[in-house]
Amino acid sequence: MAECHPVGFQWVMEAKARGATIIHVDPRFTRTSAMADIHVPIRAGTDIAFLGGIVNYILQHDRCFQEYVVQYTNASCILREDFKDTEDLDGVFSGWDRKKGMYDETSWQYEGIDGEVPAAGHKEIVPAGSKDEVRGKNAKEIPRDPTLQHPRCVYQILKKHYARYTPQMVADICGIAPEQVVRVAEELCRNSGRERTGAFCYAVGWTQHTVGVQYIRTASIIQLLLGNIGRPGGGIMALRGHASIQGSTDIPTLFNLLPGYISMPHAEHDQYREYLNTNTAGVGFWSKFESYFVSLMKAWFGDAVNRDNDWGFHWLPAITGDHSHMTTVADMVDGKVKGYFVMGENPAVPPQPMSRRTARSPTRSASCNGITKRSSRPATAAAISTSPTNSACASRSFTRARARAATSRSVASCGVTRPRASTARPIRKPYSPRSTGGPPSIAGRSPPTPS
């Protein structure tokens, strides 16, 4: 953070001046580590074990914020009787179908709920009513145990699941001393509760992993157990590297959401009433779903919408599944997408499976240009300009001809423009993380002596 968000880091130094403890968990010793009180040099990619060790410490020593956990999390909810944890089934959860290579999530649900309660981020894509999904007003009362003692309550299952992450096991996996895990966990626990809060800050050090989601979710478990979510000075801060990544998700320019995280209508529910019923919750923020929807439609269409035309609901396009980036690019290869607007983005840099795939497509009559390595001169303004570069394209064909070598400029992570020799590469060369100038590997160095 000191190197990549230095102006933000002044506040970390301010907190330190007021007595905060700064803990830096990073295989490298950077300028942030120099300013930190504790530096934990875990092996790259071992964060699941490290965070698991902290969860285990909290649960084994009963250091969670009891009232918060009971009132504001699902720790007291009781799961179905046929749920089995990885500890019972030697590494898999219940519902594993070996032949299909997939989980059947029925046994993971709460007791007494007839159907599945979908996870966040999933419900916008899959229409309610499919796969017996229940949500909104259809979700019934979930049985709870406020004492957190019921053997099938989420809290006890969590305790059993994380019991294996002992300090010694974490030390073996992460390449640190057991005392370091205990020290970090103790610092976190000591600084959480009713009077104090602690925050986690992360950036691409967590997200640029295939298991990045697991790291962040485990950090969420820690923060929920300690009662740090939704409180000043707490939470999990994602230090996003761009000015408007979050805005692009909130506003959003995504296929499955309308501004303010309202779901796009799904073709399965093409009646206004159905759409409302599946998206309105019984209590809480989303119980006022209709107000938010009407507010949006009035902002967009003004007086043209009213109660008689269902507030313009039928003017909205409906999704029928996954229309995300990869699906769209696959459709381009099949010639279904005739035009592409690319704004403020240069997907040809760095090399991505997407651009290689579109580059390989056989000659077709439709699909787009400009964003692939096929273009003679990729829109360099898109890479370094902050204002959106609108390169709308007409129908054109792909050929199998090799991309011509082109000089282009790319903005390196330190903000210095440097010319790149060629954006064109032989397509057969496999993608290598080192080619994009990723962080140096620590392989081959001896682990640092624990302090």
Partner: protein, 189 residues
């Protein structure tokens, strides 16, 4: 007389005359240095803005004269940055005025190998015509199950993380009203 004047303008002599032991009180200035002024001194206006780079969102002051940017500096009034900028933010000036910026609309004909410069009005007209034509050709009122979808799958969008909230809002509003569904963003990728 000339020699006296030359000796008098010698920095050491000036230091002694002024009692300036450290040489910091302007006694070391040359005649040219005396005439120098900050670029921003005769700006017409100062526009408050936010740094376009990372998520910290430091405040910036953009000094403008005659419709051109003179300089971009940190904004003391910002509670987030308190006037500080990192090296990237401090160099925002070159992002706007650097010679790598493209200033014209470029068009490459189908199967063409060269870009040609076209005026903005012509480019906008071409884009609008293509959007209209493609939308009409690929319009889907109902899907294969007979459900109402009211969309076109023939046009898609990919946005970046430097599009600000206002731009994102207008994009989403335009595309949704046109029935363009495949709207994606770097945020997801």
């Amino acid at each position: 007389m000339g020699l006296f004047k030359v000796l008098g303008s010698w920095p050491l002599a000036r230091q002694v005359a002024k009692g300036d032991a450290t040489g910091l009180d302007g006694t070391a200035y040359s005649a040219r240095t005396e005439t120098l002024r900050p670029r921003t001194e005769n700006a017409d206006a100062v526009v408050k803005s936010i740094c376009p780079y990372c998520a910290v969102g430091c405040g910036q002051q953009v000094f403008v004269k005659d419709g051109r940017i003179l300089d971009i500096e940190g904004d003391e009034d910002s509670p987030i940055s308190r006037g500080r900028l990192c090296p990237k933010g401090a160099a925002t000036f070159q992002l706007v005025t650097g010679n790598h910026r493209v200033h014209h609309c470029l068009y490459r004909k189908p199967r063409g190998t060269d870009w040609e410069v076209i005026p903005l009005e012509q480019a906008m007209e071409m884009v609008a015509q293509r959007v209209r034509k493609t939308r009409d050709e690929t319009w889907e009122a109902r899907d294969h199950k007979g459900k109402s979808v009211q969309r076109t799958m023939g046009i898609a969008h990919l946005g970046g993380a430097t599009l600000d909230n206002e731009e994102n809002y207008l994009l989403k509003k335009l595309y949704t009203a046109l029935g363009i569904l495949q709207v994606e963003n770097q945020a997801r990728i």
